[in-house]
Symmetry: C2
Subunit: 168 residues, 2 copies
Amino acid sequence: MAKQKQQSEVESKIFGNHDHGNCFDDAIKQIEIYFIKKKLQFTPLRRKVFEILLRDHKPLGAYEILDTLGKEGHSSSPPIAYRVLDFLIEHGFVHKIQGLNAFIACSNPNHIHSPAFVICRKCEKVAEIDEKKSGVSFQTPGIENFKVEKTTVELIGICRSCSDTANW
Amino acid sequence: MAKQKQQSEVESKIFGNHDHGNCFDDAIKQIEIYFIKKKLQFTPLRRKVFEILLRDHKPLGAYEILDTLGKEGHSSSPPIAYRVLDFLIEHGFVHKIQGLNAFIACSNPNHIHSPAFVICRKCEKVAEIDEKKSGVSFQTPGIENFKVEKTTVELIGICRSCSDTANW
DNA sequence: TGTATTATGTTATGTTGTAACATGTTATGC
DNA sequence: GCATAACATGTTACAACATAACATAATACA
């Protein structure tokens, strides 16, 4: 029992049962600071897209984002979303989950990082973990001469909570 | 010099300068044995799709495969390719490279494995490495309770040979 | 305040993947 | 052998994801 409780608590950190208001505000603050420092424009559109991703706190498809943009007074033609997403990705505030064709706000944009994602295929929650802390290293003999520029690491499976309530 | 030579040899193994005829025949032999053992049908269509992937020995998009199928006397409507690819993937003889929306024949179908891919964005060559041997482990504190079912690991960058001849 | 740069808007189209249903082929028990 | 169930392929139509190309608007800054 004690052990179970403890595991749950650890996992809930990973799967983000957290103070969401806090998380949201922090993220906005961070991106604002970054944009000022880099002399980039944190335009209403960019802010909106980032907010949409932040408030859902789960991966969203580009067309889902577009729908929301449309409902909230912006244009909703595809390039609008893709351009802003590309921009936010480039600056590390958004990641693309390849396995889902979806986008998610970064949980830890403070440093350059190679994120890894843990994705529950049942509840669709996604946890971003730090590649460095995840045992991922890629020091394969033979790729010393390969200059890695970008890594994609995604683990699909079933999270603890879905595993407990599962009927399949 | 000696060191460079040595590195080249190692990398050429990874990037597959190999006896291709041998590799092709081996792969066919393996899949035939597997299909017999599992009482599956290695139909002309499945054989053809697998051969197309084997002979190119690089990732191909579904529609590229379809084109080739069309030229070689098969139907070329999308579901044909996707169904066969799904089937071959399910049995571990083909992998999908998420970052390229493309498919590649497995280099090592003899055992159940979680492959990792090293992809040169210049020459588009892809090396499949064994996750177990690649330092990838995913023993992140906090995901002990997450049941990993499938992993996607892809490293994009520049291979040695492209790095040497590069002008960018 | 004119000009360059950056950002957004719009149309059209390209690419990737699937649903649904029809037809053909193979395995198997009677 | 042959009925029938299971499996495999064929076909049409469309859904989902993404980008090219060009027009207009906003902002930076000399």
